[in-house]
């Protein structure tokens, strides 16, 4: 069983700095040597409404945020009414008593104090930070240091406001004791891990059109462009992004695109272009509930079959989904490198829950691999689509005296267009010969993850594995979680040993799509499905109860 966790819930209106405050609080825990997991629940609006963030701390690795909070900080009135029921036994709730007073909880006159300390209207989140620090008995000096590092504007006003709020509050709780000083832990969102992984492997250019929950990948890379040199281009549409990316590859750059389901649908033709022109392309698909516009800021796994069947026409692709933040980094490096090794489009499939949640991790830099392609050596005349045994034709990039012709039509070795029967067959066969080599190459990397060694078997993929692993920390060791990381090609041999008894399949879909996929591919019998399709991640404790019930029944 897991040691104590401590969870903080912060609620407020959009624009009040809830998410930023959660990041600062999570980073504070990190400084104290605690592991943390942060999850943001926000709506598709800019000001007002209701946003909240959860940050769970633990002395050991924590894979998901808990939903019952030991400390609730309400920056506005709505947060109080919405979250009173989320208070854990023995927990504390703080609210803004300038707006209203309540019987239960501790009122702090946040709005009134803000007026006293700030010249211009500001957001109350600094008060939230002071509540957190004072309530948990953290040193005043520590708080002031954190404020200086984390909030660059209005430093003096922030310090005086926070100090006064701090002075009004008595220490009433304690964070769990750290086991070690956890060096090297940093807070990363899944999208940051993906971006850094792709960059580590060699990414030069990223093309996208904003669509939550993939937008934060564009934002992150754009914010890093000065430091890392990577070009992050916000194109006029997903069609533009994907075609520009193929162009960038032709120009010699390592390129990636990213979107959610709707935008990905618009990229399909270019995905097929990458297929026939053999352009290595990393595509990040971060799912939200669909269909169409769906629910922008929540999580889902509805795009599994869409990802597997992306594009029209026949061609090889790789689809894989990270089950941890660390894997998001290493998998992004693997996928960019496989794309370049085989000159194919690849999909990194993930969900809002991984893309936009943040966890304290160490970047697995040692697992990174480099993206390199087979490059033509200049002795013989060049043919872009030279017929080879492996199906892989050497690439060449400009400037070059050789003629390098890429083509969206079926083509001859030279890259000139053809519609002749024999030439068509030869080129399709060439591309198809890559298939077995792709499967072998994927075997270099972890293709499945197995957690635990119990006999009660659970299957899941993607960020659902985060929720389940945290749930399992609250159960005994009679469970085992099997996670396929590579979904196409699916490592059937590796999975078959786990199909000897009916399993519990857990996914964020209204229909058991992943379970059906497993049945089809590896003959897995399902003993029960746990389906969740309200866009929300599981509370690990609720999920733990469901899992136990599924096997006890």
């Amino acid at each position: 069983m897991r040691p104590d966790t401590y969870t903080v819930l912060i609620g407020g209106k959009a624009g009040e700095g809830v998410k930023k405050l959660a990041q600062v609080i999570a980073a504070t825990g990190l400084q104290l040597g605690l592991h943390s997991f942060q999850m943001d629940d926000y709506q598709s609006l800019i000001k007002g409404g209701h946003n909240y963030s959860l940050v769970s701390f633990s002395p050991i690795v924590i894979h998901n945020a808990y939903h019952k909070a030991d400390l609730i900080i309400c920056l506005d009135e709505l947060s109080y009414t919405q979250h009173l029921n989320d208070l854990a036994d023995g927990g504390f709730i703080y609210y803004n008593s300038s707006e209203q007073t309540h019987q239960q909880g501790i009122g702090i006159e946040l709005s009134k104090l803000m007026k006293e300390h700030y010249k211009n209207p500001s957001n109350p989140s600094l008060g939230g930070l002071a509540i957190f620090c004072a309530h948990l008995g953290l040193d005043n000096e520590l708080m002031l240091r954190i404020i200086k590092i984390s909030y660059k504007k209005n430093i003096e006003e922030n310090l005086s406001f926070a100090s006064q709020v701090y002075s009004l509050i008595q220490a009433q709780s304690k964070l769990p004791d750290a086991i070690s000083q956890a060096p090297g832990l940093h807070l990363f969102s899944g999208n940051q891990c993906i971006g850094l992984g792709a960059w580590a492997a060699g990414l030069d250019t990223y093309f996208a059109y904003p669509m939550t929950p993939a937008s934060s990948l564009l934002h992150f890379l754009a914010s890093m462009s000065a430091k890392l040199g990577v070009k992050a281009i916000h194109a006029e549409s997903e069609l533009a992004a994907a075609n520009m990316a193929v162009g960038a590859v032709v120009g010699g750059a390592k390129a990636a695109v990213g979107s959610s389901g709707g935008g990905f649908a618009l990229m399909q033709e270019a995905f097929s272009l990458a297929g026939i022109s053999e352009a290595p392309l990393l595509c990040v698909l971060s799912s939200r509930p669909g269909p169409a516009t769906g629910v922008s800021t929540y999580t889902a796994q509805e795009d599994l079959l869409f990802a597997l069947n992306q594009g029209h026409g026949e061609f090889s692709r790789i689809v894989a989904s990270p089950d941890t933040m660390e894997r998001a980094f290493s998998l992004a490096t693997e996928l960019l490198s496989l794309a370049w090794e085989f000159q194919i489009p690849v999909i990194l499939l993930t969900e809002k829950h991984l893309s936009e949640s943040a966890q304290s991790i160490r970047l697995p830099l040692g697992d990174a691999c480099e993206a390199t392609g087979l490059i033509h050596d200049a002795l013989e005349p060049y043919n872009r689509y030279q017929i080879t045994d492996s199906g892989i034709s050497p690439m060449l990039f400009p400037p070059s005296e050789e003629i390098i012709k890429w083509n969206s039509h079926e083509h001859l070795e030279s890259g000139l267009r053809t519609d002749q029967a024999a030439a068509m067959v030869a080129m399709k066969d060439k591309r198809d010969r890559k298939r077995e080599h792709i499967a072998l190459a994927c075997a270099r990397y972890p293709r499945i993850a197995v957690y635990g060694s119990g006999s009660r078997r659970i299957f899941a993929y993607g960020s659902t594995a985060l929720e389940i692993r945290e749930a399992l920390q609250n159960l005994d060791d009679s469970y085992q979680l099997i996670v396929p990381i590579y979904l196409e090609p699916l490592p059937v041999d590796q999975l078959l040993p786990y199909t000897d008894s009916p399993a519990l399949v857990i996914e964020h879909n209204s229909q058991p799509r992943f379970a059906t996929f497993l049945k089809e591919k590896i003959g897995l019998e399902t003993r029960q499905n746990i389906l969740k399709y309200d866009g929300r991640a599981w509370d690990p404790l609720v999920l733990a109860t469901k899992i136990k019930e599924a096997f006890d029944a």
């Binding site: 990577v230 070009k231 281009i233 006029e236 032709v250 990174a368 003629i403 012709k405 083509n407």
Partner: protein, 278 residues
């Protein structure tokens, strides 16, 4: 000197205006090579349509991309390695229909590249349907009673979008087109050339154009004058409508100036991350 011919058999209809464009483009590129353009750094892209076949007839590197996306693909090449000279070929269906957004945005961005629009006033390859530039009443298989839409005017459209070099030429005047191409490629910024191109099979405009073509005396004094001349009822004016110096996207956008040439080695990347996240 690079030989610009390929072994590919030409399948344009005899007397198609595309032949004039092909000849002019070859002559223009040769002049550019003489003036120092390195053929190794020249890249072309094209869309899908009769115009796109030019890709197969030019011994030049590049990509024969998707219908409507030639300009987006070209933009990607240029962003990856701004040292390259990128010329894109589009049809009126391609660049002002299916891919209108990319054409307008490329003009807006002012990436340093050239778009040659083969304006034949219809969709040639798909058997003569009306295009965004066909006049109202144009009869084709999809509009047997005549199209019910007003056409775009390519030049005013591109001027409004902010193209920094805008010109018009005629496929039956390859010498003029070659000269314009040279100027367009030399221009630093997004260059647009509308080439009036008769399609002998579906929209034979030779006589029409021959009777109304005139040369612009000079670059019009301002954009309104340019638009007025471009839309003139009686004459189709050939020449340069706009040639303006504007900031280049590749100079203003952040990140490496040349992502391909400056791309850090793998080890360097890992070391950077190691120091950033100690």
């Amino acid at each position: 000197m690079r030989n610009l011919d390929t072994p590919k058999a030409n399948t344009w209809c005899p007397a198609c205006g595309n032949f004039g464009i092909l000849n002019a483009v070859k002559a223009g590129f040769k002049q550019l090579f003489d003036q120092g353009l390195d053929p190794a750094k020249l890249m072309i892209t094209c869309g899908i349509g009769c115009h796109g076949k030019i890709f197969d007839y030019l011994n030049i590197s590049g990509i024969y991309g998707l219908h409507g996306r030639a300009v987006a693909t070209a933009s990607g090449i240029k962003l990856a390695n701004p040292e390259l000279t990128v010329v894109s070929f589009g049809g009126d269906g391609d660049s002002l229909g299916e891919g209108l957004e990319h054409t307008l945005f490329a003009a807006k961005r002012n990436l340093d590249m050239t778009l040659i629009l083969h304006n034949n006033g219809n969709y040639g390859l798909t058997t003569g349907q009306f295009s965004p530039l066909s006049p109202i009443g144009f009869r084709g298989l999809s509009t047997p009673q005549g199209s019910a839409e007003q056409p775009f005017d390519a030049i005013p459209l591109l001027l409004a979008a902010g193209a920094s070099f805008v010109a018009r030429s005629y496929s039956a005047n390859p010498k003029h087109l070659a000269e314009i191409l040279v100027k367009a490629v030399m221009h630093r910024g997004f260059s647009f050339i509308e080439v009036l191109q008769p399609c002998v099979s579906y929209n034979n405009t030779y006589q029409y154009y021959n009777s109304r073509i005139k040369m612009l005396d000079q670059i019009p004094s301002d954009v309104y004058e340019a638009m007025r001349l471009a839309k003139d009822k009686d004459h189709s004016y050939l020449g340069i409508y706009q040639a303006e110096k504007r900031d280049l996207f590749e100079d203003l956008s952040s990140g490496f100036a040349n992502p391909v040439k400056e791309s850090p080695a793998f080890r360097e990347r890992i070391e950077t991350l190691r120091t950033m996240y100690k």
